[in-house]
C-alpha cells in the first residue's frame, strides 16, 4: 500500500449552525482515484469546498490530514501551494484578467512557495501550450479574460488545463461532468486520465455514473445526508445507476461493500 495523501477522520462541517457533513471518514492514497457519489444535497460539494478551504463553511469537529499535515489549519492559498487543487463546478469569471496571466500568476505563486524560480514568459508559454494538448483547448482562449464568455465545455476544460499546469498532489473534481456533452465529457475525462500517476490522488465528485465510464475509479463512496453510507469498487457506481440512491440509503457506513 502506498502512503495516504488524504486522511479524513470524523469530519463535521456546516454553514451558520446548519450541519451538512455529519462525520466523514475517508482515506485516499497516492496513485488512487476515488469517487464520491450521492444525491443532490447530500454534501458532496460541501466536502470538496471544505477540503479546499472555503471560508463559508465551518468545521465543527474532526480532522483532515494531508500528506501528514493538518490541512484544516492551512489557508486556502497554502493548501493550493501544498498541492491541493479543486476543479470548480462553476468556474468563476474575472473580467479584464487574461487567462494566461492568471495562470502564470498562479503557477509562479505555487513555485515560489515551493522554493522554485518563477518561470518567465517564454518558459511559461511553452509549458502551457504543451498542457493545452491534453484537453484539446483552443490557444486563443489564453488571451481572453478568465472564463469570460467561455462555453460550459470551455470552462471545464480550462479547469483541467489549470490542473495540468499546476500539477497537484490531490486533485478534487467537483461535478466536472455537469453541463458537458458527450464529446466534451470524453475530452475532459481523457485529460484527467492522463493526469493519473503513482504520486497523485484524485477525488471525483459526481452525481452521475456516466463520468465514471471514462474515469474509472479505484473506490466509490456513496454520500447520503452528510455521511458515507456505502463504499466499494467501481461496480458500486453501476449498481447505483441501476438501483438509484434510494436503494442504498440507510445502510450503515460499516456495511460490507458490494461487489468487492
Amino acid at each position: 500500500m502506498t502512503a495516504p495523501i488524504l486522511e479524513i477522520r470524523n469530519l463535521h462541517a456546516g454553514v451558520d449552525g446548519h450541519e451538512i457533513l455529519k462525520g466523514i471518514d475517508l482515506t485516499v492514497r497516492a496513485g488512487e482515484v476515488h469517487s464520491i457519489m450521492g444525491p443532490n444535497g447530500s454534501g458532496k460539494s460541501t466536502l470538496a469546498q471544505v477540503l479546499a478551504g472555503r471560508e463559508t463553511y465551518q468545521v465543527t469537529a474532526g480532522e483532515v490530514r494531508y500528506q501528514g499535515k493538518d490541512l484544516l489549519a492551512m489557508k486556502p492559498e497554502e493548501r493550493a501551494c501544498e498541492g491541493v487543487f479543486l476543479a470548480f463546478q462553476y468556474p468563476v469569471e474575472i473580467a479584464g484578467v487574461r487567462t494566461s496571466y492568471f495562470l502564470k500568476t498562479a503557477l509562479n505563486a505555487v513555485r515560489r512557495y515551493r522554493g522554485l524560480e518563477p518561470l518567465d514568459a517564454v518558459e511559461f508559454l511553452a509549458k502551457v501550450k504543451d498542457r493545452m494538448k491534453l484537453v484539446d483547448m483552443d490557444e486563443r482562449l489564453l488571451n481572453r479574460a478568465v472564463n469570460e464568455g467561455f462555453s460550459g465545455g470551455e470552462k471545464k476544460r480550462n479547469e483541467i488545463l489549470q490542473m495540468a499546469v499546476l500539477e497537484p498532489k490531490l486533485a478534487i473534481l467537483d461535478e466536472t461532468d455537469s453541463g458537458l456533452d458527450i464529446d466534451a465529457l470524453r475530452i475532459v475525462a481523457d485529460g484527467v486520465n492522463r493526469m493519473r500517476g503513482p504520486d497523485r490522488a484524485i477525488l471525483v465528485v459526481t452525481h452521475y455514473q456516466r463520468l465514471l465510464n471514462y474515469i474509472v475509479p479505484d473506490r466509490v463512496h456513496v454520500l447520503v445526508d452528510g455521511r458515507i453510507v456505502r463504499s466499494g469498487g467501481k461496480e458500486l457506481a453501476r449498481e447505483l445507476e441501476e438501483r438509484g440512491y434510494a436503494g442504498v440509503e440507510g445502510q450503515p457506513a460499516g456495511a460490507p461493500a458490494v461487489g468487492v
Partner: protein
C-alpha cells in the same frame, strides 16, 4: 544619515552653481487674500500689467462667489484668509530628517523603488536645495527647441512668450468659471506651458518628468497646452509617490487647446496624500481641467488614475467645437479608508459629427465614497454627434459606497447616445477562486482590480501604466481581511 547629509550638501553646492537656490524667506507674502497680496504676487513674479489685471478681475469676481455645495463630498469649512497664497510657507513645519517622517509613507516610497534623495524631497524634509537632474533636463529641452516646441514653466512662458500666454490664458476656463478656478486665476503660482507648432509631432512624452519637479508645482497650479494645426503631443502629469504636504487645498487649472487636426493626450496619475487611516489630514484636490477641440478633426483625450487625496473633485472636460472633433475621457478613481471622490467629465458637442467616449472605473474600499458625475450635452448644431459612456463601479467590503450621476442633454435629433453602467462587488467567489490557485488575497484583489481597470490603464503610456498598477496594488493593501 551622514552619508545622506553629505550627498545633499554636494548637491546643494552643485545646484547653487546653476543658481537654483532661492531664498525662501524673501519669497513669502503674508497669509490671507486681498488685492494688495495679489499685487505683491504679481510683482514678485515680475508680471506684465495685463496679467495683474487678469488676476485682479478674477479676485473681484471670486469675492462675489460662494463655495459650491453640490458635490457629493464633505469637509469642514476652509478659511481662505489663513492660507498663504505665495510660495514657501511649508518650511516651518518641515521635518528635519527622514526619521521624523511617517514610516508608512517611507514604506510606500521603498515599494515604489524611489531613490533616497527623491524620498527626502517628496516627504518634505527640509533640504535647502532644489535638486534636479539639470543635465538631463537640458538635453531634453535642446531637442524640443530644435523642433520649435515650447515647454517651460508657466512663469517662464509669461516672461518669454507673453503673446501666446495672453492669447490663450482663460480661453478655455474663463476667470469667472467656478469658485476654485476663479480663486486659481487670482493667485496661481506656477505650472507648465506647452506649445507645439503646426505639423510637429512631439517625439517624447512631455511631463513634469521628474517627481521632483512635480513636487514643486505648488498649491495653485496653472497649466496651458496648445497644439497648433496638425500637431501632436502627449503630456504626463503626475507623481506616483504620495507627497507629504500640509496644504489642505489644491486648486489647479489646466487648459488645453487643439487646433485643426491636432491631438493632445493628457494623462494624470494623482497620488497626493490621502490622509491617514482614520481620515485625518490629506489633500483637497479641487481641480478644473478642460480642453477645447477648436479645430476640425481635433482630438483631446484625458486619462486619469486618481488614487490619492482626501477629496478629489474634478471633471476633465472637452468642448467639441470643430467638426469631426473627438473627445475622450478614461478614468480610474479609487477611494479607500475615508477618501472621497466626486469626479467625471463633461462632453459638450457643438460641432457636427463630433464624437466622445467616456470610460469611468470607480473603486471603493473601506469607508470610501466614490461618485461618478458626468455630463454629455449635444447642442442643436451638433448633427450626427455620438457619445458612448460606460461607468463601472467596484466595491470592496461593506462600508464603502458608489454613486453615479449621469446628466444627458440632447438638443439634436440626429445624435446617437449609448450609456452602460454597472456596479459589482469583488466577490467571495472570485477571491476564493484565485486563492484556490495559490494566489494570496492581496495579490488576488490587486489582480481583479487591475482587470477591472484594464480599459483605462491601456490608454496610459507604457511606463506610466506599470507605475499605475504598482500604485493600485499598494493602495489596495489591507483592503481585504
Amino acid at each position: 544619515m551622514t552619508a545622506t547629509t553629505n550627498t545633499i550638501a554636494e548637491l546643494a553646492n552643485r545646484e547653487y552653481k546653476y543658481g537654483f537656490v532661492t531664498d525662501i524667506e524673501e519669497e513669502r507674502v503674508r497669509p490671507g487674500l486681498d488685492e494688495d497680496v495679489i499685487r505683491q504676487i504679481s510683482a514678485k513674479k515680475n508680471e506684465p500689467g495685463w496679467l495683474l489685471e487678469f488676476r485682479l478681475k478674477a479676485y473681484r469676481h471670486w469675492r462675489t462667489m460662494a463655495e459650491p455645495t453640490w458635490p457629493n463630498v464633505h469637509y469642514p469649512p476652509i478659511d481662505y484668509q489663513t492660507i498663504v497664497y505665495y510660495s514657501a510657507p511649508k518650511q516651518r513645519s518641515r521635518p528635519g530628517s527622514l526619521e521624523q517622517v511617517d514610516p508608512k509613507l517611507l514604506e510606500t516610497y521603498t515599494k515604489l523603488g524611489i531613490p533616497l534623495r527623491e524620498q527626502e524631497l517628496l516627504a518634505g524634509v527640509a533640504v535647502d536645495a532644489v535638486f534636479d537632474s539639470v543635465s538631463v533636463a537640458t538635453t531634453f529641452k535642446e531637442k524640443l527647441r530644435e523642433l520649435g516646441i515650447l515647454f517651460c514653466s508657466f512663469s517662464e512662458a509669461v516672461q518669454n512668450h507673453p503673446d501666446l500666454v495672453r492669447e490663450y490664458l482663460g480661453s478655455v476656463v474663463p476667470y469667472s468659471d467656478n469658485f476654485f478656478a476663479t480663486l486659481n486665476s487670482a493667485v496661481f503660482s506656477d505650472g507648465s506651458f506647452v506649445y507645439v507648432p503646426p505639423g510637429v509631432r512631439c517625439p517624447m512624452e512631455l511631463s513634469t518628468y521628474f517627481r521632483i519637479n512635480a513636487a514643486a508645482t505648488g498649491q495653485f497650479e496653472r497649466t496651458l497646452i496648445i497644439a497648433d494645426k496638425g500637431a501632436y503631443v502627449s503630456y504626463l502629469e503626475g507623481c506616483t509617490a504620495p507627497m507629504r504636504d500640509e496644504h489642505q487645498l489644491h486648486a489647479a487649472v489646466v487648459e488645453l487647446i487643439a487646433h485643426d487636426d491636432a491631438t493632445i493626450k493628457y494623462s494624470t496619475i494623482q497620488n497626493w496624500y490621502p490622509g491617514d487611516r482614520d481620515g485625518k489630514g490629506g489633500i483637497y484636490n479641487f481641480v478644473t481641467k478642460r480642453g477645447k477641440c477648436q479645430g476640425r478633426r481635433s482630438h483631446i483625450a484625458w486619462t486619469q488614475v486618481e488614487t490619492g487625496s482626501a477629496i478629489t473633485w474634478k471633471y476633465p472636460s472637452c468642448i467639441l467645437i470643430g467638426d469631426h472633433s473627438v473627445g475622450e475621457f478614461y478614468s480610474v478613481a479609487t477611494t479607500m479608508n475615508h477618501q472621497q471622490a466626486d469626479t467625471g467629465t463633461k462632453m459638450i458637442h457643438i460641432g457636427r459629427h463630433t464624437r466622445s467616449t467616456i470610460v469611468s472605473k470607480g473603486i471603493s474600499g473601506g469607508f470610501g465614497q466614490n461618485t461618478y458625475r458626468g455630463m454629455v450635452k449635444i447642442l442643436p448644431g451638433a448633427d450626427q454627434a455620438r457619445n458612448f459612456t460606460q461607468c463601472d463601479s467596484l466595491l470592496i467590503g461593506e462600508k464603502c459606497g458608489a454613486h453615479t450621476f449621469p446628466y444627458i442633454e440632447v438638443r439634436n435629433r440626429t445624435a446617437r447616445m449609448e450609456h452602460e453602467a454597472s456596479t459589482s462587488k469583488i466577490g467571495e467567489d472570485q477571491l476564493f477562486y484565485c486563492k484556490q490557485r495559490g494566489i494570496g488575497a492581496e495579490d488576488a484583489v490587486s489582480m481583479i482590480v487591475n482587470g477591472f481597470c484594464r480599459q483605462v490603464l491601456r490608454e496610459l503610456p507604457m511606463e506610466f501604466a506599470v507605475e499605475a498598477q504598482k500604485l493600485l496594488a499598494i493602495q489596495l493593501e489591507g483592503s481585504v481581511g
